[in-house]
Amino acid sequence: MEEKKTLTCYRCNVELKAQKTYFEYLGHSFHADVLRCPECGEVYIPEDLAKGRIAEVEMQLEDK
């Protein structure tokens, strides 16, 4: 049986939930579902998101 992986907020000891989260860059705002602590709002940005979609958005918005 596959083990369900969860992430827990180190401050609140509460499981992170996927929530619509806004990112702002160079005057633009985008949302994506990322894991957030429902108590304190701390977000977890996995490496593949940072190096993947977020990096791609940055590239598209930056002047060349």
Partner: protein
């Protein structure tokens, strides 16, 4: 009282004999002129900037070379060691022949016989930097060559990453089989001459009615997933009032049309008459015309002065076409890079190929992944949409014997490949002004 101020010294050439001259940018009552004197042919003055937009602000990030340049410039082209910018795009002439006879033609090619396919293959092998080069096949009109698909294939075999076709679009409209072969050979995108949305404009500039042909060429290219960027030559009194309509036409045809690349008329090659200042359309006139005519679609704050080349060479704007709006991605005050650094030719090439090349089309890309209304703020939707419906508004102001600034030329990244050397576009096509 006339307000007159010398704002910069540089070098230029005499329009009559092309000898190298010192020159000055002079601001007179808000407009800026290039002024120079030839010991043999007298004084020359050419308007550079009308003053509708702050020129000092526009050019504030121009690169500085810190030296006087090559004392033989532009006669040592190929590229000399004083050249300050790498090659972004390489232009290769594949024929002198053309199926039009336009009033203005920068190439104004003569009657040389076509180079053979094998000769072109040799040139492509010399000019290509494998995996990097963007080659523009040009002429004359390249599509008069029946073997153009083989030339495209040869360019890909030589390692050219992108193969662009500069064309009037006539054969692309009338010969779909030929276009299919071009696509199959690896053609990346097309730069198509497109002077306006009314046939009277084509009749005046190109000698025949061409609007329907242009539309058909765009649609045919779309069948084969070949993006088309529209390229108007802007001539005062002929099509400068059509700029807004050109933009609306192009935006309405996204993603078939990838953008509009404005080229204010320059007096290179074949010209109908020697230019007076009222025959010029300066970059700031173009900026104001875009803002006034494009009905709020394109705002000046979203247009960035050229960074790959000199700021007076042109501009770019980066947009995403939505179902009922157009969203700007760049803002001059927030352009994202260090304010003082010209961008590299490699970065420029990556940007333009990202926009001008069509991605393979999926179905239903106009809607959000969950079938709801499109949401440009959804990261997923934005990344999908910008790839399919990215749209550029760009301009390039070629220099001619009246206004060429040899310091500005050092930043040129559009290079013509001529047998075994790279030559900046504006010095390659620089021609003496003679009475027509």
């Amino acid at each position: 009282m006339v307000e007159r101020e010398i704002i910069r010294n540089t070098y230029s050439v005499c329009p009559k004999c092309l000898r190298r001259l010192t020159a000055r940018y002079v601001r007179i009552n808000g407009s800026v002129y290039m002024q120079k004197e030839c010991p043999e042919h007298g004084e020359f003055s050419t308007v550079i900037w009308r003053g509708y937009v702050d020129m000092d602000d526009w050019t504030k990030n121009a690169g500085e070379t810190g030296d006087e340049g090559n004392p033989n410039c532009p006669n040592d082209c190929g590229l000399c060691s004083y050249h300050a910018q790498d090659t972004c795009c390489t232009l290769l002439e594949v024929t002198d022949r053309c199926n039009l006879n336009c009033r203005f033609c920068f190439a104004d090619n003569g009657d040389s016989p076509d180079p053979t396919l094998e000769q072109i293959r040799l040139w492509l092998n010399k000019l290509a930097k494998p995996g990097k080069t963007l080659v523009q096949l040009s002429g004359g009109e390249p599509t008069v060559r029946d073997d153009l698909p083989q030339i495209v294939a040869a360019a890909k075999e030589a390692g050219c990453r992108y193969v662009q076709l500069n064309s009037n679009g006539i054969r692309l409209a009338e010969d779909e089989e030929y276009l299919e072969k071009l696509a199959g050979a690896g053609l990346s995108f097309v730069f198509m001459q497109f002077d306006g949305t009314r046939d009277a404009i084509y009749q005046k500039l190109r000698g025949r009615r061409l609007l329907e042909i242009k539309q058909r060429a765009i649609e045919n290219c779309a069948h084969y997933n070949i993006g088309v960027t529209l390229v108007p030559t802007l001539v005062p009194g002929v099509n400068t009032h059509n700029i807004g309509d050109i933009l609306k036409f192009a935006i309405a045809r996204s993603p078939m049309v990838r953008g509009v690349h404005f080229q204010p008329v320059s007096f290179l090659g074949r010209i109908p008459e020697l230019p007076a200042d009222d025959m010029r359309f300066t970059l700031d006139e173009l900026l104001i015309a875009i803002e006034e005519q494009a009905g709020g679609l394109i705002k000046l704050e979203n247009i960035i002065p050229s960074r790959c080349n000199h700021p007076l060479c042109g501009f770019h704007g980066n947009f995403v076409v939505m179902p009922d709006s157009i969203v700007p991605l760049l803002h001059r005050e927030r352009a994202g890079e260090g304010c003082c650094s010209p961008t590299t030719a490699d970065k420029n090439r990556a940007f333009i190929s990202r926009r001008w090349q069509r991605q393979s089309q999926g179905k239903g890309n106009s809607s959000c992944c969950c079938g709801k209304e499109p949401d440009i703020n959804s990261m997923e939707y934005f990344l999908r949409r910008v790839k399919t419906h990215g749209f550029t508004v760009t301009a390039m102001a070629f220099q001619d014997a009246g206004n060429i600034d040899l310091e500005r030329l050092r930043w040129c990244s559009l290079h013509v490949f001529d047998r075994d050397r790279f030559v900046p576009f504006c010095s390659y096509y620089l021609s003496r002004w003679q009475k027509q």
